[in-house]
Subunit: 762 residues, 2 copies
């Protein structure tokens, strides 16, 4: 931390390194890449939610001129099943299909039109099976099973996931339980007990860039260009599926147009790789928006929240039962469920707790990682219930929260990192910004507050970075963090430029290529600024040490008396030499490069509930004022205030952009978005019937406050951010709706119809 | 050095890592790459050897449908001149053209045919100037000047080159002089003085792959895919030409189909970059064979060699005057000249020496680096003269050499590395192999010997490598050495595999990309096995240290008691863990990578004539038996024996392949190849009129002996090799021809016509 020293590059709104490329349309995404001899792939997907695959005949498709090959279950015998947590997903359907959209076959052809035509010529014969398409159906006794055989257990980054034995022969594939104190005693002590059930709908990531993959098999090596958030983890999955060592798989990541968790672990990449292998040439597969909707979603969830409160207004006990619907394949479901269960306490002190969180298979699109990773669902429940309790107990919702918030330095659970921020101060700032104490002065208007917290930085991270200084002092940064639109290239380069005293445009981020780039597990969990930020900072400091040692001779001074500034090394007498001069003298020529390494590794701890203490706490506060139209049920957001605990904003404008984006994302989830299933068919996998927020859905007033206390573990006291902003939105709006029109909403999204019906019932 | 320990991977003929790709035609060369929106460039070249460029009109060409842009001198005002030693070459001709082939303009079009058609529509008006196309013409008083203004001085890798002031207003652009002892005294003492003049013809590299470049300007960054031998040096040149920092230039090197020095430093790349910049899209320019002939050649040379010998047969004095014809632009001419001058003593003890070597501009194709780098020319002279002297003094040519050879450990010149091989032993082995003591038993047959030496490893090298071990123990190697057909990927990977105890196919070499790959100055001067070999070995050892530290805990043993074998770490009790287990335990997950660094840096020494002692001595011996057809003058090679001092053959089959290739190369130079100029026009820039050796030119018997004494500074006692094999060929053949038919040849190549004329004069 160098708070005392003036920062030059860090903390200011530097021009984005990828800005010009992106606004001029020159930035290369996976779908922009064309390889000589490349074929185009299309996927035949199941139109049944659940069926046995009886027969598949590809002869007609193969005979269509322009078709290169067709991939079916006949080809994938040697390939292993895959999945983020469990290995339950085949490259293409083998015995049965499990949801509408499940890949059944794939065609590689000379162009997309031919490939699409060939799909219509594939004859697939199915035997329909009864399907389960909701949590309720899936949990019924004797419900049809999505997976007859128990899925194998899974390891991911050192964590073990296993289907619970007692749920063998059911659709429950994972349970996370956590308890502290004595829940029975707790409820006995509590003067008031509140029990509510909330649901969170099914929403899709909708990245601007749908999933895209190009695969090329050359000799015994597989190369992928992929829109992925975790190329090294993808490499690991592919090596496992095809049973080759890791040095036989190469992942190159061009720019990625948004991911939000939807491009983590493994999706369509194995299919494209297998297709390329069979076609004996490069194959590109780009999803339509509809296909991405049929690839991954957020977990719909149902919560039963039972909270006991003392007569003094202190939280005493909470019992929480969570069902997360993970669809036809587990994907990251068990991990999301674990986090949802763990995070169900919220930022409050609750002595007696028991949570049980379940992952449930259904015959719907697989649900995986999604910005907020389980927390978003539980915050909707617990922060809505906080207002319910306050109102019923006659306490102001702000005061009720203030009374129960964890203090800075207090433990969330035993063994976890103590709370690293003053939650009260943040909440008071949010309340002030929304004018909590002034009641809304018009009818049908109301305000809401929410305060949320998640463990940030991801589970058990190990990462490295390399910084190379060239002979003229300009710099390359090798980092496994994916530039996914969040501005990581710029922010990480700022750290390098700051440490090495150069202008930002003297830093270039090398292409992300797993063959050459140092390891990073994933661009997820708001981890990049802390985990990769520290790697990058340490690598830059390693370069700095070497540069200073090289400069000591020409400057005739001790290393500890030298400093870097504007591309020059200075001694205390004010004499200086340029980096180019230092390097030229050191290497004896304008040649050579200095290579610096930096690493980061989370510590494991058996005392921590999740096995390792969180890297940092990602904390966010929201305040909102809404107006509800009593005739239509429409909710208008008059003002939204978002407060983000960023520690130190490396790039304040990008931080605000991230936070605004996060709020808008959650406004979509809260008011607009829902994937609608009927008879196992997804009715709205497109942007006409599935509405994401647009500019006209912006709050009328929108304020983002960066809460900077240099309290993060990242460079210069920074924390990760970008997920926090989502967390308070739904509950703040739900609470404001209640305060505006007196109806309590339990089920997202808060569509006009739902609100209108609630108003009618009032 | 681990001579005592059994080597598993090093020293055996492992399958080439690039073998399958290459024999199946899958290997990607620059010309195989296609980028979306790419244009194709063609170059308008001067058809005058020397002319003022009066006017250039591109209007008609620009109007041709399909033409994207035309690049002329109007566009290149802001660009600097370039060149390996001096900056004397423009991107396209500005004021005048200096040789037939000099680039005048370039067209980018939608395809090659359109670009070619557009070239015919460019109107260029010239004012012819008198030209000089031989060393003799160029040296005449008041000869036309190729460059009116003195070329600027040059720096390359810490060495300074400067046109001599006293030659201002002449075509001489560089002089290297070296003297030791007292040359006047020396010749006084000598009982016998011999003076001979030799010439070496103009030959071309003829790489199977002519020069190819793709350039893409994106924002403020230039990316090149290029068939280059020294991407980092090319990056430096391009950054200078376009005046941008090094982080704005990226060079990616696909497979390269031979280079032999012809793809060093900077050739057509700046033109392609400028064309892409003007066309605002990627541009590919691939040379025809003719264009590569008009881009770079070997230096034609003339030597006057005056050698004084004592009555006892010991060499006493040598005066050597060398003229190297560098063509219209200096390219590496001064550096080649320096080396030719320095290496003119040969492997012999000569107390009194004076050499003067000059670089001369002419209006012909620029001459640059070429396998052997000046040495090949001087060995032709000095090893021919050794036989002349021996014969005239009545001493056996072998005995004469043995009497004068430097001893192992003796200094070549003060301050240089002592001779690191037993020259006598090698020569005796070569003599034995060719059966020197048995005279040829048929008429018109004769044997010849030659023994040559060059300083190897290049001038002042600085390089690094990185080795990454993945979580399953497989490995990536990041090296700046270009795989140019020599097998460097395989040999360097063998070093990694050996050090880390894994199978060779567990090592993959990452794509060479200057953004990510550690610095290496060039794949030249037989340097890769020593300079990069040591970097690679040290990087692997750095990984090994980290791996052993990580293994100490699971194996419950001290690091110094652990060893690596077959992908496992063993303790002395025979217990073992796989690398994957070690990494998983160390990182707590199947995640993370170990990164190792290794570097190499030549030491500078003010005591050494060339500023730094040679890295190693590259030494070679040749023995040959020929038969000369007295009617046609045709030389038939009955047997050739090549002996190469390789220290330790990392990959014996590749070493033999390199050596055989080197001999064949030199057989071409000796018997067949010569670029013929008439009136400044190159008459034979194609493979019909310019003959390179084919299988039918193979010696009837061909023996390659690897002389392994572990005497090299490289890994396991290895030395660099691959140039040595060329050096003795011409002189051995020339000597054998004399012994066969009694005619002494002074001028290469030894075509039937020349030999026949010599026989006629006999």
């Amino acid at each position: 931390m160098r708070r005392s020293q003036a920062l030059k590059i860090v903390g200011s709104a530097q021009p984005r390194l990828d800005g010009k490329e992106k606004v001029t349309g020159k930035a290369t995404y996976t779908s922009d890449i064309e390889l000589p001899g490349m074929a185009y792939g299309k996927i035949l997907r199941s139109s049944f939610p659940h069926a046995r695959l009886v027969r598949i005949d590809t002869h007609k498709a193969e005979r269509l001129p322009g078709v290169i090959t067709v991939l079916t279950r006949e080809d994938v015998n040697g390939f292993k099943l895959f999945g983020a947590a469990y290995k339950d997903q085949p490259v293409v359907a083998i015995d049965k299909v499990r949801y509408v959209g499940d890949p059944v076959a794939a065609v590689a052809a000379v162009d997309e039109a031919t490939a699409n035509e060939a799909l219509t010529l594939i004859e697939a014969e199915y035997e329909e099976l009864p399907a389960v398409t909701t949590i309720e159906e899936a949990l019924k006794p004797n419900a049809p099973l999505v997976h007859e055989a128990a899925s194998t257990s899974g390891e991911l980054h050192g964590y073990h996931y296993e289907p619970p034995k007692e749920f063998k022969g059911t659709n429950i594939c994972y349970r996370f339980s956590y308890a502290k104190g004595d829940i029975v005693e707790g409820f006995k002590k509590a003067g008031h007990i509140f029990e509510d059930t909330f649901t969170f709908g099914r929403v899709q990531h909708y990245s601007m860039e749908p999933h895209a993959t190009i695969a090329q098999v050359e000799g015994d090596r597989l190369t992928l260009w992929a829109s992925t958030q975790d190329p090294f983890t993808l490499r690991e999955h592919l090596a496992e599926i095809f049973d080759v060592p890791l040095n036989k798989v190469r992942i190159i990541v061009p720019y990625v147009g948004g991911g939000y968790g939807g491009k983590l672990s493994v999706k369509t990449e194995p299919l494209v790789a297998a297709l390329s292998w069979k076609a004996r040439r490069p194959v590109k597969v780009t999803h339509s928006v509809e296909e991405s909707f049929k690839t991954v979603t957020r977990h719909p969830a149902r919560f039963r929240l039972k909270t006991g409160v003392g007569r003094d207004g202190r939280l005493i006990a909470r019992e929480c039962e969570i069902y997360m619907e993970t669809g036809a394949y587990a994907d990251a479901g068990p991990r999301v469920t674990q986090k949802a269960g763990y995070r169900a306490l919220g930022p409050y002190r609750i002595p007696h707790v028991r949570t049980d969180a379940y992952t449930v298979y259904t015959n719907t699109v697989p649900a995986g990682a999604f910005r907020g990773f389980g927390t978003l669902q539980v915050t909707w429940a617990y922060e809505s219930q906080m207002d319910i309790i306050a109102e019923r107990m006659g306490i102001d919702a702000l005061d009720f929260r203030l009374k129960n918030l964890l203090k800075k330095g207090e433990e969330y659970t035993p063994g976890d990192t103590p709370v690293d921020c003053d939650l009260k101060e943040g909440l008071l700032r949010a309340a002030k910004a929304i004018g909590w104490k002034r009641k809304s002065n018009k009818p049908n208007r109301g305000k809401g507050l929410s305060c949320c917290m998640k463990d940030g930085g991801g589970t058990y991270k190990i990462a490295s970075a390399v910084v190379k200084m060239t002979p003229d002092g300009s710099i390359f940064l090798l980092t496994g963090t994916v530039e996914i639109g969040q501005g990581a290239r710029t922010a990480l380069s700022q750290v390098v430029a700051e440490e090495l005293g150069v202008r930002l445009d003297r830093v270039t981020v090398s292409q992300l290529d797993t063959d050459a780039t140092p390891y990073d597990p994933a661009t997820n969990a708001s981890s990049s600024m802390v985990v990769m930020g520290l790697c990058v900072q340490r690598a830059a400091q390693d370069v700095k040490r070497q540069l200073l040692r090289a400069a000591a001779k020409p400057l005739k001074d001790r290393v500890d008396r030298l400093s870097l500034r504007n591309g020059r090394v200075y001694n205390r007498k004010g004499q200086s030499v340029s980096y180019e001069e230092v390097m030229t003298k050191y290497f004896g020529a304008k040649a050579g490069e200095i290579i610096g390494r930096g690493s980061y590794q989370d510590k494991k701890s058996p005392k921590a509930v999740l096995g390792s203490p969180t890297t940092f706490w990602e904390i966010s506060w929201g305040g909102v004022e809404v107006e509800v139209d009593p005739d239509t049920g429409e909710i208008k957001i008059l003002k939204y205030v978002s407060l983000a605990d960023v520690g130190k904003a490396i790039h304040p404008v990008q931080c605000k952009g991230q936070d605004e984006g996060a709020v808008m994302f959650a406004i979509g989830h809260t008011l607009l978005e829902e994937m609608v299933y009927k008879d196992g068919q997804l009715l709205n996998p497109n942007l006409i019937d599935y509405r994401v927020p647009s500019f006209k859905d912006l709050p009328q007033k929108f304020e983002t406050i960066l809460f900077e206390n240099h309290n993060g573990p990242g460079p210069y006291g920074s924390k990760g951010m970008g997920e926090g902003g989502l967390l308070p939105v739904a509950s703040a709006i739900g609470n404001a709706v209640y305060n505006a029109v007196g109806v309590r909403m339990y089920d997202l999204p808060l569509t006009p119809e739902k609100v209108w019906r609630a108003l009618e019932k009032r």
